[in-house]
């Protein structure tokens, strides 16, 4: 028994080690890139170090939406449903949160109003995720395509809202945004991290992470998600309804996306801004993949990408290195992870050797 546990720890350590080496490799690439381009080569490493030490508040601010987006992704990816629509769900959550918040009377109890706002946002995100899910289940539409396209619908819908129905009535406003929300609808920030906009959303993320870990590994529903993801035909054969599971995971994912939207509106911006979302949903895919779609892992990879994002912004402020460099790091990690999935399929050195030696004749 002891041996078994040891080997389990070993294999877990191996996985973590592999992911860390991915990160190191990507950072190395970026450093080389900086050096070649004539920038300060260690800018990005310094940025990350700073993010994890003196400016941990900024990191938490960015890590919160990234962790939550990663969780929204990992729920569906466990069931092999490739949901690219978390961004759309975030937008819809934000829209619903704002719509409720602006009509909330100022006298309303703070706690109650926040809870109502978040529940509405979750419902809106889930409802929006239901569109591609139902299309998939009843019409066989490809989820990748439908979710991707619906993102644009949601993004443009937000633009419509902030230039139309929800536009701020202030005269001299030159940005597309709603009015500033009443304070009783704000999700509290973490006081000892002021003046950063780091907020108690991070606690929501941690609680949700624990909840999902429990769901995945300790519940019948989690077992169903695993089986549907591993082999939907087996699921059907064993009496699990894969269609139902797909609707459930998409709904869950949408609700989590809605939370991200609500946090960004009620804790960070305090208003609905047209371009408030820097593609958290897509970053969530990388966060989740780097964590092997494991919720506990998502927490750590979310913090890493939060630090990277924060470091990039700081870096831009201090040096002349553009923050887009951090996108390159993200992209490299993404490419290496994707390559890991494809490489074993094309790599068959024996066959290749035969072919090439034959060509030489």
């Amino acid at each position: 028994m002891k041996n078994k546990n040891d080997s389990k720890i070993m294999s877990a350590a191996r996985v973590v080690g592999k992911q860390i080496s991915l990160i190191v490799l990507a950072l190395l690439f970026a450093t080389v890139f900086l050096a070649v381009s004539g920038y300060e080569p260690f800018a990005i490493l310094n940025g990350i170090t700073e993010s994890l030490t003196v400016d941990i508040a900024g990191t938490i601010r960015w890590a919160t939406p990234l962790i939550l987006s990663g969780l929204a992704i990992c729920v569906t990816y466990k069931a092999e449903v490739f949901n690219l629509g978390v961004d759309g769900q975030i937008y819809m959550g934000a829209a619903a949160a704002t719509a409720v918040a602006v009509i909330m009377p100022e006298s309303m109890n703070h706690g109650v109003s926040v809870v109502v706002i978040f529940l509405t946002a979750m419902a809106a995100g889930a409802a929006f995720a239901m569109i591609p899910a139902l299309m998939k289940v009843y019409l066989g539409t490809d989820v990748i395509v439908s979710t991707l396209l619906l993102n644009f619908v949601a993004e443009l819908f937000i633009e419509y809202l902030v230039t139309g129905p929800l536009k701020s009535p202030e005269e001299n406003m030159n940005m597309n945004a709603s009015k500033v929300l009443n304070e009783n609808t704000w999700l509290p920030r973490i006081s000892f991290l002021e003046p950063s906009s780091a907020n108690i959303g991070i606690y929501i993320a941690i609680v949700l992470m624990l909840f999902l870990t429990f769901v995945f590994f300790r519940t019948a529903f989690g077992h169903e998600i695993r089986i549907v993801g591993a082999n939907p035909v087996l699921a059907r054969y064993a009496g699990i309804k894969p269609k139902k599971t797909i609707l459930q995971v998409m709904g869950l994912s949408g609700a989590i996306g809605g939370i991200v939207g609500a946090i960004e509106v009620t804790a960070v911006q305090h208003r609905l801004l047209a371009a408030f979302n820097p593609d958290f949903g897509f970053d969530g895919i990388v966060v989740s993949l780097l964590a092997n779609n494991n919720p506990i892992g998502v927490l750590f990879s979310g913090i890493f990408f939060g630090a990277l994002k924060n470091g990039g912004i700081n870096m831009e402020r201090i040096t002349d290195v553009p923050s887009a460099i951090t996108d390159i790091v993200t992209a490299i990690i993404f490419i290496i992870i994707s390559a890991k999935f494809i490489l074993p399929k094309i790599r068959n050195p024996k066959m290749k050797k035969v072919r090439s030696s034959e060509g030489g004749k």
Binding site: T219, A220, L234, G239, V354
Partner: protein
């Protein structure tokens, strides 16, 4: 006659496995060598080396007395080696002619010389009596015809050595006879043939020499005239094999499954079942014979609840379950060993435990209010592994780490753990070795003898004949014949399986 192929002291190592250990075999011109053994005995590895798909780590291959290093299938073809694979290597959307000349196309002024190709192929077809329409597309052909194309392809490339990898596994008895005739003709014309098979009867019928392999080594090498089936199967398994399965007296009890006038469509929306009626009683095994693709898969799906029939009723233990879903039917006492073990019966990337608990995970005492009791589930899966002899150190290992026979044991354990009143067993021994076949057949018989019903669907006539109390033959979505145990032999069943004959009207009634 001259020696055509010699493979001398061949060894092949894969990480952690010795696929072949010092194996030697040889075939003369005009001779047929039967290569037999369990799955994983190393037969295919030997043939892959001869066909250039992989290279031996040790040993020498000689062709017509000359040492050769075969680097690729292309080179093997040039050296006169042809191989008919178990899974055909044909392009379904191209015509027969195009498939045959693919890779060896005669040209004239840079254009394909269709006339020359046709002449050559027609000559081959005539010589060996292998008629086929050259303009038809491959996907329109039956399995037997596809195989014929493969053989013609090899002959077109002027193969002097022909390797056939389990060629009869997919054929009806009539088609098999035809194939054996073709092989005899080839032999007469000096072709050297290596014939890989599981079926000892064919080995006895057609080969001149036999090589038996087990676990990567040769366990027997003898000429066919000295061999007998009993001795061969002992050599294959490495111990005494009991091919006769003891069975209790046939005492059919109450009807456990009643299928009435079922019509259903297949995945492409075409009619697959056209009014199927059948009954299975407690204490009997009903076998369904038929060439694959005649509605057996759809029938199983309808009975198990995965496919809704367009018409008709499924009655399980006296209760109409036509509108019940899979889980309800399973809870009513139905178990199902699926035909496609990897595609339907298991998830290879999940743990053995996850695979074993599929019927149980949502039930008390393993699950309360949706929360799993992992301790109890683990206990259950460990017990099942022990009871059914699944060879694994721990049931948390991935299912993919098991061999085919052990995976089948996992499926069996899961389905038997539900204590079914009615069991569907579809191709239960496909791709498992003789030793495992023996134990699976015993288990199926145990179900019958404990007064429960079994519906056995198999493409192996041997299996149907040796296990069933009653045999139904399916052809194009209908049951065209019914036999009692001992009434039918392979030949008569074959004529019904190919649709050449059907029992008049009464076959649908009991």
């Amino acid at each position: 006659m001259a020696v055509a192929v010699e493979m001398l002291n061949i060894s092949k190592f894969y990480p952690g496995v010795i696929a072949n250990d010092n194996v030697s075999l040889s075939v003369n011109e005009g001779e047929i060598l039967g290569l037999i053994g369990e799955n994983g005995a190393g037969k295919s590895t030997m043939m892959n080396m001869l066909y250039g798909m992989t290279q031996p780590d040790e040993g020498v291959i000689k062709l017509f007395g000359k040492e050769v290093h075969i680097q690729s299938p292309n080179m093997a073809i040039k050296l006169g080696i042809g191989m008919v694979h178990q899974h055909f290597m044909l392009m379904p959307n191209l015509s027969v002619l195009q498939n045959i000349i693919l890779g060896n196309t005669p040209t004239k002024h840079g254009l394909i010389d269709v006339k020359q190709a046709k002449n050559k192929i027609e000559e081959i077809m005539e010589t060996y009596d292998l008629p086929i329409s050259l303009d038809e597309k491959i996907y329109q052909l039956s399995v037997g015809e596809k195989q014929r194309v493969e053989i013609i392809k090899a002959l077109y490339r002027e193969a002097k050595v022909l390797i056939l990898d389990e060629p009869t596994a997919v054929l009806t008895p009539q088609e098999t006879d035809k194939l054996l005739d073709v092989l005899r003709e080839l032999k007469k014309r000096g072709c050297a043939i290596i014939f890989i098979t599981h079926k000892l009867r064919e080995v006895m019928a057609i080969t001149d020499e036999i090589v038996v392999m087990r676990k990567g080594v040769v366990t027997g090498s003898l000429s066919t005239s000295e061999a007998n089936t009993g001795g061969l199967s002992d050599m294959i398994v490495g111990r005494k094999v009991d091919l006769e399965i003891p069975r209790g007296e046939y005492q059919p009890g109450e009807t456990v499954l009643n299928v009435e006038n079922i019509h259903a469509l297949n995945q492409r929306g075409l009619p697959a079942l056209n009014g199927v009626n059948l009954k299975v009683a407690r204490g009997e095994i009903v076998g369904i014979a038929g060439v694959e693709g005649n509605g057996q898969a759809e029938l199983i799906e309808v009975i198990s609840g995965m496919l809704r029939p367009t018409e008709g009723k499924v009655i399980l233990k006296g209760e109409d379950v036509t509108n019940k879903d899979v889980r309800q039917r399973r809870e009513d006492g139905l178990s199902h060993i699926p035909e496609d073990r990897l595609g339907m019966g298991t998830a290879v990337n999940c743990s053995i435990r996850d695979n074993l608990i599929l019927n149980r995970y949502y039930q008390r005492p393993y699950c309360k209010n949706g929360i799993l009791d992992n301790k109890k589930l683990h206990q259950l899966s460990e017990e099942l592994c022990k009871d059914f002899g699944v060879k694994t150190p721990d049931s948390t290992y991935k299912l993919g780490t098991l061999s085919g026979g052990n995976m089948q044991k996992v499926v069996f354990a899961r389905e038997m753990d539900a204590n079914p009143d009615f069991l569907i067993a579809a191709q239960p021994t496909r791709g498992v070795d003789i030793g495992a076949i023996e134990s699976i057949h015993h288990k199926i018989m145990e179900v019958r003898d404990s007064n429960r019903g079994v519906l056995l669907v198999s493409a192996e006539l041997d299996e149907i004949l040796s296990l069933s109390d009653r045999i139904l033959v399916m052809y194009e979505g209908e049951i065209v014949a019914e036999f009692k145990r001992g009434e039918a032999d392979e030949r008569t069943m074959g004529t019904y399986m190919t649709g050449a004959k059907r029992q008049g009207g009464e076959n649908n009634e009991e």
